[in-house]
């Protein structure tokens, strides 16, 4: 098992890694006790830092920026002198592949949600009649005709299916008139 380098673990402990690197490191740490200990040590060190903040007259923000710049410079020089072992995780082509996979998942999920929303569209060619959230409808394949009784509570609507392929809904509308809607499969 290849371990993330110490800089990565340190940045992970401080929550400063990017989302992708953070996810990869999380996965590794979940099954690596050694790295977990390393991160715990970095976190313990971080907990002591607030005490240092009590020291007056120190420009901590500027100092932090300088330290971060120095760390990055050191890491870069180290990489130039001696190639660091590659981090555990996917190879170079895997990242764009993962991005594309994510986009594909997003589009697929959007498509599925769109077609499985409150009014599902089925590929079946059977003619069906059924109740819906606020009405009744006849449906065949991707087409449907629904008659709605918006505003009426479920308890006030009386549905009666017809075994010949029909559905009836009876309710009193806001004018006080009874309305009976029917849909028919043929």
């Amino acid at each position: 098992m290849r371990h993330p380098n110490r800089a990565t673990l340190a940045l992970h402990a401080g929550g400063d890694l990017g989302a992708w690197a953070n996810w990869r490191t999380d996965r590794h740490v979940a099954r690596c006790a050694e790295c977990r200990q390393e991160i715990a040590a970095f976190r313990a060190a971080r907990r002591e830092l607030p005490d240092a903040a009590e020291i007056p007259g120190v420009a901590w923000n500027r100092l932090a920026a300088q330290m971060k710049a120095n760390i990055r410079l050191g890491l870069t020089l180290g990489e130039l002198e001696e190639p660091a072992p590659r981090e555990a995780g996917p190879s170079a082509w895997a990242r764009p592949a993962a991005v594309f996979a994510g986009l594909a998942t997003l589009l697929a999920a959007g498509f599925i949600l769109q077609h499985n929303g409150p009014h599902p569209i089925r590929a079946s060619q059977d003619v069906e009649v059924e109740t819906t959230a606020n009405g009744i409808q006849v449906r065949q394949g991707a087409g449907a005709l629904g008659l709605l009784h918006r505003g009426a509570s479920d308890i006030d609507v009386n549905y009666t299916p017809g075994a010949q392929g029909a559905m009836s809904a009876q309710n009193v509308d806001d004018t006080g008139h009874v309305t009976v809607t029917n849909v028919y499969a043929n």
Binding site: G110, H119, I121, R139, A142, G143, A163, Q170, H177
Partner: protein, 383 residues
């Protein structure tokens, strides 16, 4: 922490994807075409057509809302029912709908508002011409005469509704006359409780196609016989029948009936009850005669048979079909007269708690709920 934030963003993006893809826009006027015959006893006016389309990927969801005022322009007849036919041939092949206004008392020159809300789903976004055609299927008058082309059998349907309306109106008038306002209040409250506690099922009816039954528990499938409730005065009596039952699905119901009257019967209809595992009964469906050209002679038998599948759920869970019961709920004679069960017969068979209230009973009890006892008493005194 960052992982959690990133995951949150991904979930939000996934949830927003359909909304981002959807585009909502108004449709041009004329999406709904309303046309009545030239000699119609009702005319429409004040037509408003508010329609919007929402593109969802390659499909399109169209919300159509039409409001208008219908006016009785007949010389001297009171309108008791109107049925409008709603057809969108290009959306669901063979599929159609109707909107009926029963329990009306609209005199000559009087008018009443109607509103129809529809939703269409189309596989394409192209909109050319009217999407929905609304036309008059029929008008029922107080003397039970009828006007219209009756393509949806609205004459029979509205006549049965009118007979039920008269039956239940008479019941409440009699209660008022015999027991006064307090007795009427008790009867109305009893009805409201019954309506709210009526056990209900969700059903889906499919014509053709394979069986896709599911079940809440292991079940056996096979033919299940109907038990029958028989009313002494029913002109038609069920003889036997069965349906193929598997889990929450009942297929191909078939019931044989015998004409016990002395008149030819043109149509009959049964109500179909199912029980769950606990013995709780539900109104499952109506089961009409299958032969559109039926003419059932006295002492002869005929079948109500439908090649459909009904799947039942309750609170989103499949409801295993147990015992099945049927009773005759409507008969139309060849001379146009109709029979429906009396209120007393329904009460004696403990069916009032299972069946839906008539349109008139629902209207009267709703009037009491919205406007109080005085409004109800005034209404009962009017007609």
């Amino acid at each position: 922490m960052r992982t959690r934030d990133a995951a949150r963003w991904v979930v939000l993006a996934l949830l927003a994807a359909p909304a981002l893809l959807a585009q909502d826009y108004p449709l041009p006027a004329g999406s709904i075409n309303v046309s009545f015959p030239g000699d119609s006893p009702v005319l429409f006016s004040g037509l408003t057509d508010q329609s919007r389309g929402t593109a969802r990927g390659s499909a399109m969801v169209i919300d159509l809302r039409v409001s208008m005022v219908l006016r009785n322009v007949s010389a001297n007849r009171q309108i008791h029912g109107v049925t409008l036919r709603v057809v969108s041939q290009e959306v669901a092949v063979g599929g159609k709908g109707s909107v009926t206004y029963p329990s009306l008392h609209v005199g000559p020159g009087e008018s009443f508002p109607v509103r129809i809300e529809m939703q269409l789903m189309r596989p394409t976004q192209a909109v050319n011409g009217p999407l929905v055609q609304v036309s008059l299927d029929g008008v029922l008058f107080g003397d039970l005469t009828f006007y219209g082309d009756n393509r949806l059998n609205s004459k029979r349907i509205m006549t049965a509704e009118e007979l039920e309306a008269r039956r239940d109106r008479e019941y409440y008038k009699r209660v008022l006359q015999e027991t006064g306002v307090n007795g009427l209040r008790s009867a109305v409250l009893e009805s409201l409780v019954r309506q709210s506690e009526r056990p209900r099922l969700d059903a889906r009816v499919t014509r053709g196609g394979p069986s896709v039954a599911s079940s809440a528990a292991p079940v056996q499938s096979g033919a299940e016989n109907f038990a029958f409730l028989k009313f002494p005065d029913s002109p038609v009596a069920p003889v036997g029948g069965s349906a193929q039952v598997s889990g929450n699905e009942a297929r191909d119901p078939r019931v044989e009936v015998r004409n016990n009257s002395s008149k030819d019967v043109r149509y009959f209809e049964l109500s179909w009850l199912v029980s769950d595992a606990n013995g709780q009964q539900y109104l499952a469906a109506s089961l009409p005669a299958s032969d559109p050209a039926l003419l059932l002679k006295p002492s002869r038998t005929a079948q109500a048979a439908q090649d459909t599948a009904l799947r039942f759920t309750r609170n989103g869970e499949p409801l295993n079909v147990g015992r099945m019961t049927g009773f005759v709920s409507q008969v139309e004679f060849a001379d146009g007269q109709m029979w429906i069960p009396s209120r007393q017969a329904l009460e004696n068979a403990s069916l009032m708690r299972l069946i839906a209230p008539s349109a008139e009973e629902q209207r009267l009890t709703d009037l009491y709920r919205r406007s109080g006892m005085n409004a109800l008493v005034e209404d009962l005194k009017k007609y």
